[in-house]
Every structure is written in C-alpha cells, then in structure tokens.
Symmetry: C2
Subunit: 408 residues, 2 copies
C-alpha cells in the first residue's frame, strides 16, 4: 500500500462549505466500515495515482476501510499496457502480439496471488489491472476507466471487452467515452477530481512562488505561458511550441514553461522529452522542465500560479485534469476540444477552446494583453472547479455509487 497523507474531511470545510461536508459525512455513515479496494498500476505519476492519494485517506477519515493496492509489473508489461492504452484511445496502428497478451495476463495472474482483493467493493482503475476480474471472490467489482474509449482500436478492444463484461459496473469520465457495444452492465459517468489541499494545488505564499521562478531562472516580471503535461504525442508539446513562436511575434517578452514528469509506466516519456527539447532548440525564453530537474508537485503548483495563461493543446485526453489544476489557481486555459477538456474549459467563460495553433496564439495574445479578461475568466474557473472537480465531490460520488451497488 502506498504511503498516504493524513487529511481529514473537515479540512475541506473552509473550501466547500459546511453543508457539503455534512452531506458527505451522512452518506458515509450509511456505509461505515465497508472495505473498498482501489487497484491501479502506479503509486505515483499520472492522474489516477494522484486522485487515489487524496481520495483514499479522505474515505478513511469518514469511516470507510478504504485501501490502495498497486499492481506490480515488468518493463514489458508496462510497454504492453501503454500500447493498450493508446489503442483504446484510438490508435489503430497498434496490434497486440501473443507475447504481449501473455505478459499482460501473466502479470495480472501473479498479482492476483499477492494483492488483497477481498473487498465489499473492488475498484479497478484503467486497463492495466483489468484482467484481475478473473480472480474475483466476493464483493462488487467496478471498472473505473479514465481514458477516452469512444473509438477504440477494434482489434485491441475485442481482446479487452470480455474482461470488461465480467464487471458489475463501469465508470467513465464522460458519456461520450462509453464504448457503444457495452450491454447489460450498469454504467456510470463520474468526473475525476483534484485535491485543493495537495502540494500541487494548495495555496502558496507569493514568496514561495517567487523562489520557484527564481530557482529556474524564469523572470517573474514578464508574462509566462505554459503547459503541464507528460511528454507524449497526445499532449502535443510541439504544438505548444508552435503556439509560443506565434505569440512571441506579438509579445516579445513572453516566456514559455513546459512541465512534464516521467511516470513509471511511461517508457515513451524520455523520447518525447528529447524531441521537445530539440524542437525548441533555437528559441529564447523557453523552459522545459521535469521531475528530473527537481520540478515536483510544489514546483508545478508554483509555476501554474505564475502562468498568465495555461495551455492544454492535447490531441487526445482521458480527462485532462491539469486543466482543472490551472483553473483552480485562477488561470484561464486555452485548450483543444478533446477528452474532458470541454467540460472544464467553457469557451469564453473559463478559457477558450481552439482548433488550430493560430487560434491558440490569438487567444493567448488576447489574454496576456487583457489582464482584466484573464482575471474574469480565471475567477469563473475557480467557481467551476469548486462545483465540479474537487475531491470532495468525487468522494460524494463514490459513496453514492457504493450505496447504489451494495445497498444500505
């Protein structure tokens, strides 16, 4: 089990209000002591791990016996699951070899022997631990799919689907993500969430923000635009650099900060990091930073708080929670219309949705010049995230799901 911090539900009262806390506590009382097991494939890096890191101690603090189990896998396993991930998101060029299928199933079989899967509810996150369903004992099993499976690679989906169909319920992040050939299973739509008290999102004093900027030689007195995302073709870091190039023509003092982290189960990361660095080689005022440079959660937080505008130019997204992370800091977001982004960026209200690099650059220039507009959109963003994308809302949703599945 991963180490978890000790935040209590009452810590969130100043943020979401007493009524919301009361609702959560009273839902939790109906399922007190229930054993909930969450299984995913990485204890850090990636959106799912981040959500669990907040959600699980919070669930425990309201009386649930919530646990977190992390699937252990080999390099080959994670290479395979990355392929499955990309294929489910629509990459039709991918084929799974029989060796890949074998390692996928074998790793799950081995993990089934060591993981504690005896819960009232077992929540399996994403495709990596999906086949664990073959080793189910009692309890309700839920597959929580965080990726966009609206147009999956048919070949790979054909392999995955029989596992999916053994679950008692499925949860997707958007209506549109539900594959259209799912029948006879309860399907729920639930938003993922961010934790306003985590290192990545907690309030920072201005001197902390300043120190972070100075540590990485970013000028605090000039506008900063940036994207926080893994180095990955789906996240389109090269498109961000193209956008920056155009913005720089109009606003010569603008700076670009690109932040990514290398996750355990993401072997493509380093390759794309290098590609990105090469692509920006001759450009001034570009900062490409990763956890290897010492940019961890607090630093990401500080940089996001210093952004004049945040970008999220992804080509495909599971949900794109970094958008909510930026919005929560009062930063307007210019982003593509993919995945969960349009649920977070409401065009002209919390940011702008764009289709091309030209449009992105135009909106960024507008927001850098019109500080007041950036502020108004940023303020709307904070409210929007507060209502929809905070971990307290997520916990409430999980409690309701639990009650619906198990009864009580």
């Amino acid at each position: 089990m991963s180490s978890v911090c000790v935040r209590k539900i009452s810590d969130y009262e100043p943020i979401v209000g007493r009524d919301e806390i009361k609702t959560i506590v009273s839902l939790a009382e109906r399922v007190k002591g229930a054993k909930i097991i969450h299984v995913n494939s990485t204890a850090y890096g990636g959106g799912v791990a981040e959500i669990l890191k907040s959600l699980i101690p919070l669930a425990r603090s309201v009386g649930l016996d919530a646990r977190w189990q992390v699937l252990q896998g080999s390099k080959e396993f994670f290479f395979t699951t990355k392929s499955i991930h990309n294929a489910l998101q629509g990459d039709n060029s991918i084929e799974l070899t029989s060796e890949m299928r074998d390692v996928y199933l074998k790793v799950n079989e081995l993990n089934a022997k060591t993981l504690d899967l005896d819960g009232d509810v077992v929540m399996i996150h994403d495709p990596q631990p999906l086949p664990l369903i073959d080793y189910r004992r009692d309890g309700k099993w839920v597959w929580r799919c965080h990726i966009d499976t609206s147009q999956p690679n048919k070949h790979v989906w054909g392999f995955i689907k029989p596992f999916v169909e053994k679950y008692d319920a499925l949860v997707f992040s958007r209506e549109a993500y539900i594959p259209n050939d799912i029948r006879g299973i309860k399907v729920f739509v639930r938003f993922p969430s961010i934790d306003p008290l985590s290192d990545k999102n907690k309030p920072l004093h201005q001197t902390e923000i300043l120190k972070i900027l100075e540590r990485f030689d970013v000028n605090p007195d000039k506008p900063i635009i940036g994207q926080v995302a893994r180095f990955d073709p789906w996240k389109n870091p090269l498109g961000v650099i193209d956008t920056y190039r155009k913005v720089k023509e109009k606003i010569s003092e603008v700076q670009l900060v690109l932040i990514g982290s290398f996750a355990h189960d993401d072997p493509e990361g380093l390759e794309w990091y290098k590609k990105t660095v090469r692509y920006a080689e001759n450009l001034k005022d570009v900062y490409i930073l990763t956890n290897m440079d010492g940019v961890c959660d607090v630093e990401v937080n500080g940089f996001q708080r210093a952004f004049t505008v945040a970008l999220q130019l992804s080509i495909r997204e599971g949900f794109g929670l970094t958008v909510s992370e930026a919005l929560w800091k009062g930063v307007p977001v210019v982003a593509t219309r993919v995945g969960g982004i349009p649920l977070q960026v409401i065009d002209g209200v919390t940011g702008f949705l764009i289709n091309t690099v030209e449009e992105a650059a135009e909106k960024v220039v507008l927001l850098v010049k019109r500080g007041w507009l950036a502020r108004e959109l940023g303020r709307n963003g904070v409210e929007h995230v507060k209502r929809n994308f905070l971990v307290t809302k997520d916990l409430k949703d999980y409690l309701r799901l639990h009650i619906e599945l198990v009864g009580k």
Copy 2:
C-alpha cells in the same frame, strides 16, 4: 422614502453559503415585525445611501419592518453639515457661525415634523440628522457614525457632543474612531458593507466590461490603474495623478482612470473636479470621469473590473468602502494607511499599504508587471471581503445589535 430594489436574503446564498443565511434568518425571527427606521441625509451618492439601499430591502425580506427616511435640507444646510463633517474628521480651521448652527438645528426641527420617527429602533446616520434626537419619542435611538471622529475639531465637537450623549447607543466603524470623552453610553464597533448583487458590484459579462471601456475610449488591451472616489481634498486625487506620472515613466502604456460622482450634499465636488482636471492637463492616457459623463454604478463596476491595480490614496477616510469594492472584483489595492483602509488592505496579502507617492508608484509597477502576484492578492481580497464586508454580515450585525438593545 427612497425607491428600493427587491432582493431577497436567499439571493445571497450562492455567495455566502447556506449556513450564513440560516443564521441570519434565525436571528431575524427573534425580532420579527420590529420597526426599524434608518435616517440619513441623501437618497443617493455616498456610502451610507448605498448601504441603506441594500440593507433595508434585505432586512424587510427577513421579516423586519425596516424603513428609510431621508432628511430634506437646503443648500446652506448641506454646506454646514459638510463643514461639520470635515471638522469632525479633524479640520481644525473650521468654525461654525451662529447662522450655521441655526440652519443646522432649524432643518432638523422641520424634518422632525414630517419624518416618521416612531420606531422600535431609530438609526441615525452621520451628523446631518443628529439633532433629531431632541424630538425622540419611544424606541431606542442609535447614532451610526460613519466618519473618523478620533481627533475631532474641539470647537465643533463641543457643539455636537450634547446631542450624541442623548443616544442609547453609538456605532463606529473602527475602535480608533470613538471620541475619547464619550462616557456612559453603549458603544459598538461595526464594519460597513458592500452589496455583491448591486449594480456596482454584481458580476458583469466580459462584453459589458469591454463596451464600457470602449464607450469612454479606454484601451482594453493596455494596463489600467484607477481610483474611484469623490473629488475632494481628503481623497487626494492629485496624489493619484502624481503616482500615475511616476508609473508612466516605467510602464509607458499604462492608463489612468479617475472616477468620482457628485453627491447632493457635496458642494465642494465640482471645484475639486476642476482642480483635478487642470492638474492632469498635459498628461496622456488620463480619463477623469463622473456621473455627469454617464459613469453610474454599472460603469464604475465595469471600470473597477478592468483595473489592473486600484488606488486609494486618501488622506482621511471614514471607512473607504471603494477599497472593498475593488477587492471584491479581484483587484489588488495600493492604498494609504488611513481610516478603515488597513482593515481592508492587508499589506502584502490583499494589496499594499504605502506612505508616499514614490512607494505607491513602486507597488503599482510591481503589480502591473507581476500579473501572477496581482492575481494572488486579488484572490485573497475576494475572500477577505466575503468574510468581513458584505451586506449579509452587516445585516447580521444589525440584528444582533437590535437584540442587545431591545431584548428578545
């Protein structure tokens, strides 16, 4: 009685939360039907009228029989009360002639015959209607002094004090404002408030803000700094222009917007308006606007929302609620340490407190350059105003005062 809008207490629930509304409603139930009469000297213009315009319908919506009576006076009367106002704020050059005293008392005597003063509680605002106490019937009488009377002109205070001493209770906006020779009367300290749903503070759509800027030829794409305040020596409009001059040396594209309104009881306004215009004569990008130009509540709201930084360089203040109005819009405020300002501008948290024009210019430059810092301070400002300076808090305080005076 002045026309009042029809806002209900429940309209504020999305802003202050259900708990706060519940508290107010349950306090109000203890004094249901009580007749509360507020008396001031102007139905529009000036902070007191603005508070009453919001407070009274709100008090009615929770079941109180709240009423608003406006003292009618001549030009001579308002000239006199303006002198009294300035004298109580410390202008030792003022002497009241016997003619001035006569008109002051006579106008109050005449008003006592026409105004409805039969309330469970009669709340007299500021010095203009102070002598009405001589015509009191039943009910508890409270003098709500909104100005800084910490170091009053002794001569004028000597004339005023006997009236003050006939009241059942006094309310000041700061501890420090209580004159040190007051004895044997209940004295309360209560903050004044702004209404987040009034035309001056309600949310505006970005296109409305843009239209307002364009209507007055202010460039929406360049930084705007500004002060909203009456044209009056106490508000220091010339100091604002001096500050602007220095900021302009560093940031050539900055613009200055000075907004004031001419209130009914303020004959000095026009003179100081002209003085201000003359003082800025040779400066570029300065906009000096008043209600005469069509800058009314919504326009003030729009301009404030467009400010990169708000200034409040007053030499003396009653409370300086325009500071809270700016903060509520997420705008950091650079201001002097006078009156109620340090209660609103927390140095380095919601803005900066300064002592000189040089310091003011330096902080403005910092905030124009560091958009992220302006945003962080602005965000703190919103929270600070929400906790302390909203009309809902004010109503709650009045209800508690009422319960303390009348019992129940």
